[in-house]
């Protein structure tokens, strides 16, 4: 059955190849980019997987740009990454933004590290920023956060609120960033309650799918609930919506949100009574500060760490579910800020 087809295909293929070659030759020499950049068309923001409406990490960055658009009267353009992207796609996205004259260009997510480094070299007049990673370059600002410190506080809250003395952590993947969340949470829980049982798990061992997979987060959370775990902290971007949903279906259990104050998210309003608190990562503040610095003509460059003491990370209180343990959380926060407690990063 396949023999004659193959022969037929080869005849056609030869024709098409010739046509394609002719096409290629005519276009040679003309490039889509002019290596211009720095023209000030507004802010170009490239999201990680999950997109603007992940109610979490990306959305926090988007809020920063929204605020800048309103208060600083700048224009902005946002683009989203797909699952399983390669370096080539990220580079292309940033190049397109820089080339179209967007300045600054911001890559939201650690995946953008190497692509920012490369593209920043090609567009020296444009300012770049990368969130959650440290990238080299004289026109690059690297924004990182003290996720472990915020997560430590979440661990404290979880340990105090758990009735079964079993708490769980769900991470998107097993990379260095997620390990910071996990390590902080585990340490905070154990420092508060020495008998506590902390179970930690990840959605995928590698790749970026774990940030964009609410279905498997839901399953994972259900499994944990079945084991008697009654407080679950999920650090997995958009996937977290799945575990919050699962937790809301079982009375007396709590979800801890991540990156944005998930109690306040309209998209999660149905489940908000199950959201104990959220480890807020103030990406919006960092993004806004950076855009402002570019507007003022003095763009930030180099490493910029947003820790607990800088209000770069915090524990949200909306809903009032942790009001009863406020004193203990404040105490834990003070210990970290004063340097009495050092939170591990892995």
């Amino acid at each position: 059955m396949k023999g004659p087809f193959v022969r037929r295909v080869s005849t056609i293929a030869a024709g098409v190849t010739t046509a394609a070659l002719a096409f290629t030759l005519t276009a040679c020499g003309e490039s889509s980019t002019e290596s211009g950049g720095g023209k000030g068309k507004g802010v170009g923001l490239a999201f990680d997987v999950g997109g603007r409406d992940d109610h979490s990490f990306n959305e926090s960055a988007a809020r920063g740009l929204d605020k800048a658009m309103k208060e600083l009267k700048v224009d902005g353009y946002m683009m989203t990454a797909k699952n399983g992207e390669t370096e080539a796609e990220r580079e292309q996205r940033l190049t397109s933004l820089a080339d179209k004259g967007y300045n600054p260009v911001i890559g939201v997510g650690f995946n953008y590290k190497s692509s920012i480094e490369k593209v920043a070299k090609d567009y020296p007049k444009t300012s770049f920023a990368v969130v959650d990673s440290i990238a080299a370059g004289s026109n690059v600002e690297s924004i990182t956060f003290g996720e472990q410190e915020g997560s430590y506080l979440a661990g404290v809250a979880a340990a105090l609120k758990s009735k079964t003395h079993k708490v769980g952590f769900i991470g998107a993947t097993d990379n260095a960033l997620i390990q910071k969340f996990r390590a902080g949470f585990e340490q905070g829980a154990k420092d508060t309650d020495t008998k506590i049982d902390v179970r930690s798990d990840v959605l995928t061992t590698n790749g970026d799918k774990g940030f964009n997979d609410p279905a498997s987060a839901k399953e994972k959370a259900k499994g944990m609930l079945d084991q008697g775990i009654d407080v679950i902290y999920t650090a997995a971007g958009l996937s977290g919506n799945g575990s919050i949903e699962a937790i809301s279906e079982k009375k007396g259990t709590w979800a801890i949100g991540v990156d944005s104050d998930q109690y306040q998210q309209p998209g999660l309003a149905k489940y908000k009574d199950s959201i104990l608190t959220s480890v807020v990562k103030n990406v919006d503040v960092a993004v806004f500060d950076f855009i402002k610095s570019v507007q003022d003509g003095k763009p930030f460059t180099g490493e910029h760490k947003y820790m607990l003491k800088d209000n770069g990370v915090s524990l949200s209180t909306s809903g009032g579910f942790i009001d009863d343990i406020k004193a203990k959380i404040e105490e834990a926060k003070k210990n970290i800020v004063d340097g009495k407690v050092t939170v591990k990063t892995s």
């Binding site: 396949k2 276009a27 889509s32 440290i134």
Partner: protein
């Protein structure tokens, strides 16, 4: 003479009909979908062609197509034998991972280093796929099940070793294997503004070898025979079990090459950001290219073209997902169009044979009567 000419023309018409039908159907369906989102489809095509034909886009597309092509060939080797190797994804990732580990630990001249890295990758890919082959012949485990399970196991194995202090190290928020030394960087063609990866040469070679082995050797003949009918192959003296293992091993070794353009030409390490999913794209490209070396090359380029233009479409206000939809529609259309044309061809052939037989029967009837 005139008869052969006529047959050839029929064949050519049928051969052209399938891809034409597929393209027309795909374009029509895509236009409807874009139209349904309230946008002008023709403007989208114009944007795609304009942007995709720029020189930097062409370089990008070729570079993108190289791993796609290698992945498609790996899948096609299985397809020709009626084996569905959906484990290419796991095979290339685990192969690239261990190749990166070995490469990062060595410091030898490139002429030694690069072949060693490539051979390690091919060996690891071959072993990983070989497990599925072995399970199939010894325990009758369907290769679809075993290869997809092996994908998950590969991911877990990589996840275990890709940790700070094990086989990898931490850099900021990333974890990756040690960098390959400069001597292990593959050569590039210095095109402007960005270079074309030298691995395109290896990909072309793989295509030629694939064509030659399948169509011009005893082994290739045996392989295709097993693919068409296992029992017939067995009866004619082919050791089917050995063929299953051998072809899985070769498919896996080819899969081992998929990660090499990235490892030796872009990242120089295997990190948490190493591309995943190319093995599945390879299945679509093998289907689209009908397992033919040139057909798959064109499909890989088409895929790269679509990937390239999706960002541009986003700038023009089209949903970025449109390109994903287009890719799916194309594969479906191709599979359906080929099947429709095949059935049509079969029917006309049957009718023709029927007519000829009937004519012969009439003739002999007449002969009997006159006798």
């Amino acid at each position: 003479m005139s008869i052969t000419k006529k047959v050839d023309r029929d064949k050519l018409v049928l051969g052209l009909a399938a891809p034409l039908l597929a393209i027309v159907a795909a374009v029509a369906i895509t236009s409807v979908i874009i139209g349904a989102t309230g946008k002008d489809p023709f403007h989208a095509y114009q944007v795609m062609v304009d942007y995709g034909s720029k020189s930097d886009s062409q370089v990008w597309i070729i570079n993108k197509a190289v791993p796609y092509y290698l992945s498609a060939v790996a899948v096609a080797i299985g397809f020709r034998m009626n084996l569905f190797n959906i484990g290419v994804d796991g095979q290339y990732r685990i192969a690239a991972f261990f190749a990166a580990v070995v490469g990062g630990a060595m410091a030898m001249p490139g002429i030694v280093q690069i072949p060693v890295i490539i051979i390690v990758a091919m060996a690891v890919g071959a072993i990983w796929a070989g497990i599925a082959g072995l399970l199939k012949v010894t325990r009758g485990v369907n290769e679809v099940i075993s290869t997809i399970m092996l994908n998950a196991i590969a991911g877990t194995v990589i996840g275990y070793f890709l940790q700070d202090g094990r086989l990898a190290k931490k850099e900021g928020n990333m974890i990756h294997t040690p960098f390959l030394p400069d001597s292990a960087h593959f050569f590039e063609f210095p095109t402007q503004p960005k270079p074309v990866y030298g691995f395109v040469v290896i990909a072309a070679l793989v295509g030629v070898v694939y064509w030659f082995v399948l169509n011009r050797t005893r082994f290739g003949f045996d392989l295709r025979t097993v693919g068409l009918s296992e029992s017939a192959a067995q009866a004619s003296g082919v050791n089917v079990k050995r063929m299953v293992i051998t072809s899985m091993v070769i498919s896996g070794a080819t899969a081992g090459l998929v990660g090499m353009p990235t490892l030796l030409g872009v990242s120089y390490n295997y990190g948490t950001d190493f591309p995943a999913g190319i093995g599945f794209t390879g299945i679509a490209i093998a289907l689209l290219g009908r397992n033919h070396p040139i057909g798959m090359a064109l499909s890989a380029l088409l895929w790269g073209f679509l990937d390239r233009t999706s960002t541009q479409l986003e700038f023009e206000g089209y949903a970025q997902e449109i390109v994903g939809v287009v890719q799916g529609v194309i594969v479906l259309c191709v599979v359906i169009a080929y099947e429709v044309v095949r059935r049509y061809g079969l029917k006309t052939q049957q009718r023709k044979v029927g007519e000829e037989l009937a004519a012969q029967a009439r003739k002999s009837d007449k002969a009997e009567v006159s006798a």
